[in-house]
């Protein structure tokens, strides 16, 4: 009998905790509510969310967001996605990252979904619902083109990546292919978690002329360390997301805040199409719209001079220079 009392105490404590938090955060019924499902806590993904929320609030001041973060768990992503699908006042689901987008697309849906920060939209399941999104795939061909143009003496390129991230694998295989065509050596340096990073990065810098980082969550979170190491080793470091980190020579990739803004535009389009009764446009997976956040090149003057490079004289370089 006493065990039942214990279990009741535990369950009611948990319920009391969540309901008190709920009570503190209760709002009146909103006109438009959007469910945001994020794959994990991460600076770039947080930036996407911030850009999205900011733009949406500017356009629709009465808008309300319900945010859930799966923190990498498939089970949590699935439960949260279903929760969003089953709530009638949620008009649209915004997913950030591959795992969250897959979970939302796999759950039965009649609601429009807008995704962002998915590197390879072909990875998403095919779906009949109204799916629209932006991809943060970087233009690896342009990156390799720039290497050939600006740093013609480079013979060996090392790529640091976390092989457990699908986006990194897509990009590194593209890099391998393109560098092979350009007759430049290619090697992969795998980092599974942040604790491996400093050793692997050191090895990558010592064995290569140049280190390239794809849009990898683990790497991006530790970019400061890699940038410092690049300066110590006096080797070129290229990044695939902006803003540029001290120590990197140039960054070519997606500005995640603008990426979120682009996604917000698609979401507004879906909502207005829904309101006017016309069926929202279905682009389907694989036909992501990259919008205005298309890759831009940012070159660091101080790193270029630290490496003794003179690339400011290169003609037809469409880049923004920073100190």
């Amino acid at each position: 009998m006493k065990s039942m009392v214990y279990i009741l105490v535990v369950v009611s404590l948990a319920l009391g905790l969540v309901s008190s938090i709920k009570w503190l955060t209760t709002n009146t019924l909103p006109s438009v509510e959007i469910g945001i499902l994020q794959t994990a806590s991460h600076p770039a993904l947080d930036q996407v969310r911030a850009g999205f929320v900011e733009t949406m609030q500017k356009e629709l001041p009465s808008i309300v967001f319900t945010t859930h973060n799966a923190e990498g768990s498939m089970s949590q992503a699935r439960t949260a996605a279903n929760q969003f699908h089953s709530k009638p006042n949620i008009k649209l689901i915004f997913t950030i990252g591959t795992l969250a987008s897959q979970a939302a697309l796999q759950a039965d849906s009649s609601k429009p979904i807008v995704y962002a920060a998915v590197s390879d939209p072909k990875m998403l399941p095919t779906h009949d619902a109204k799916v629209l999104g932006v991809s943060d795939q970087i233009d690896m061909a342009k990156q390799v083109e720039l290497i050939k143009k600006l740093l013609p003496n480079i013979r060996k390129v090392g790529v640091i990546l976390n092989p457990s991230e699908p986006n990194s694998l897509t990009q590194s295989s593209a890099a391998k292919h393109l560098l092979g065509e350009a007759k430049i050596g290619y090697s992969e340096h795998a980092v599974y978690n942040a604790s491996d990073l400093s050793m692997v990065a050191r090895q990558a810098f010592q064995n290569n002329d140049l280190v390239l980082c794809p849009t990898d969550n683990t790497i991006a979170a530790n970019m400061a360390l890699i940038g410092r190491m690049a300066l110590q080793e006096r080797k070129a470091l290229l990044m695939s997301h902006t803003p540029i980190e001290p120590g990197a020579l140039w960054a070519m990739g997606v500005d995640y805040r603008l990426h979120g803004t682009d996604a917000a535009r698609l979401a507004l389009q879906q909502i207005s199409a829904n309101d006017s009764g016309s069926s929202p446009q279905n682009m389907g997976p694989g036909t992501a719209n990259s919008g205005t956040s298309k890759p831009s090149v940012i070159v660091s003057k101080s790193t270029a001079s630290a490496l003794g490079l003179d690339i400011s004289s290169v003609p037809s370089l469409d880049a923004r220079w920073v100190d």
């Binding site: 006493k2 065990s3 039942m4 214990y6 279990i7 105490v9 535990v10 369950v11 404590l13 948990a14 319920l15 905790l17 969540v18 309901s19 938090i21 709920k22 955060t25 806590s41 319900t66 859930h68 973060n69 799966a70 923190e71 990498g72 768990s73 498939m74 089970s75 949590q76 699935r78 439960t79 949260a80 279903n82 929760q83 699908h85 089953s86 709530k87 591959t98 795992l99 897959q102 979970a103 796999q106 039965d108 990875m123 998403l124 399941p125 095919t126 092989p163 457990s164 991230e165 699908p166 990194s168 694998l169 599974y192």
Partner: protein, 282 residues
Amino acid sequence: MSLTVLNEVMIQGLIYSLVALGMYITQRVIRVDDLACEGAFASGGAVFATAVSMGFFPPVAIPLALFAGIGIGALSCFLHCKLNVPMLIAGLAVTCGLFSLNLGMAGANLSLPHGSIGLFGLTLHLTPALPLIVLCGFSLLGVHWLLTTEIGLLLRAAGDNPNLLYALGKRHEHYKMVGLMIANGFSALSGALFIWYLGFFSITGSIGTLLVGLASLTLASFWPKSILFGIPIGCILYQLIFALTIEMGVSPIWNNLLKASILVLLIYAQNGARREVATCST
């Protein structure tokens, strides 16, 4: 909370109850702390996802995952019994090594082909729950029956009283191995069903399975008649707590703290219940 979410909770709870059933065998029957079940869960999913994307019919891929799990159980027992690696470390080493194998096999993220999505080929809301209830019911009854047979008796003895096995001239390693093989087989089966249900495999998705299984098993041990039959209830209750936190909009930052606190509270409560039984019997 809507019916959709409750159904979701029930299906996930039932799938995880197979992990908890495996942990019941390792924790309560042969009494070893098997950490390999987290690796087995992930590998079950990876084997299933790879096989299906290679063109296997999903019901054929499920036994493949099951066999992989059985192999994993045998491997961790081999490390423990033959190479004298402590059980905790053997489990950790197996889980750690399997991560690379899974990555090599299925990659970081793998969507199932469109035709094979939906548990048991059923995409309607309530229907996957029914075959799942049958499957879990058979598994529970199977384990219950097994523990009443002679092998089951010796399995229990391997945990409770290894001296009995020596007295009977049996090697208790053999029975540990049988227990670990069954337990990891259940974990892998659960992993495969989970991937089938979700429709995609993600390398990071299985992290934390151990905690879910352990907490669910502890919840199950409050079931008055038999822990074994409390397992599905415990698992569903545990999933329900998390669905509630999502429903209530609790920030997911606190999720892991909540999980840890629930586990500690449950074990404390369970010890309280044991103390009570002890005082009653004296």
